[in-house]
Symmetry: C2
Subunit: 158 residues, 2 copies
Amino acid sequence: MEDFLIKMGYTGLTGRLKRLNDQFVYQTKQFYDDLGVDIEPNWHMIFLLLEKEERLTVMDMANATRISHPGIIKLLNKMKKNGYVSSKKDVDDQRKRYWFLTKKAKEKLPELHTYWEAGDLALRELLENNDELLTLLQVVEKNIYEIDYTQRMKNNMK
Amino acid sequence: MEDFLIKMGYTGLTGRLKRLNDQFVYQTKQFYDDLGVDIEPNWHMIFLLLEKEERLTVMDMANATRISHPGIIKLLNKMKKNGYVSSKKDVDDQRKRYWFLTKKAKEKLPELHTYWEAGDLALRELLENNDELLTLLQVVEKNIYEIDYTQRMKNNMK
DNA sequence: TAATTTTGCGTAACTAGTTACATAAATATG
DNA sequence: CATATTTATGTAACTAGTTACGCAAAATTA
């Protein structure tokens, strides 16, 4: 059957982004499950952030990823449950809580990097080694950051 | 602060797709809320499908959109709750249930089209009237359909 | 220094999809 | 024609994010 979302042109774009992303997420999850790895797709960026920065607060990670802070907290609580991260209150600022990778996480990182590299290669295949999509995406990201989509829709009414 | 997902290159792409889509969804919802319209962003494609085809089964819509059938059922139940769709069992095949737009939906369609047109224009602005992104996306969609992402990652292991 | 504002974290309720499983009706097969 | 398979729908439990709200600590302001 013909793909209605593609047929819709511009109108179908947002649905296609969703659909494609869902495929990435659920198939990455499948990949981890098949290999018996107890991590989830979206933990990737947290692992990388904490590998690079050693310790970060919830707000640090929210700002770096542009994900809302409750979203980050949900991620961290699951990673904590699986023993990959731990946290400690800042002694100087009692509001802040620093998060860091556990010993288990650090020991597992080399193995995880092999999976992530395989994922990167698979993605390059899908893009046919053309990184134009990333560039075009960045244009949209810049534009939507400057004037958001809600406002643009309102401006285009009547 | 610098955008970590963009800095990640290929590795950050899937997160960026998710993030961008979330912005479209939540900001479209905001747009509807501000205008006092009681519909949700993802109902758009169902409205268009049923406007074109008159009556369709759950599986018809799942196949046309490449969304899982439980996903479609969830959509339809909410649309039904708001009085936009209704359904009737097929008399010949008792397994099938046909869905169609209600009178309320048909009367509201002209108004809804004005919102969707504003959304289309806003999207064109964000893309700077360059439909290259849609073309590139279609390449990825074709490739992931032929060999899925899980399999590609596995092939790239070791 | 007392009152106000801002910041950081956390929870609740929500949208939007998925996979896994169950059931009944229709179809295919031996 | 009885049995097995496929198809269509539906439910449950899950991932992954959001906005709205509350509270306490720190920072700012009067």
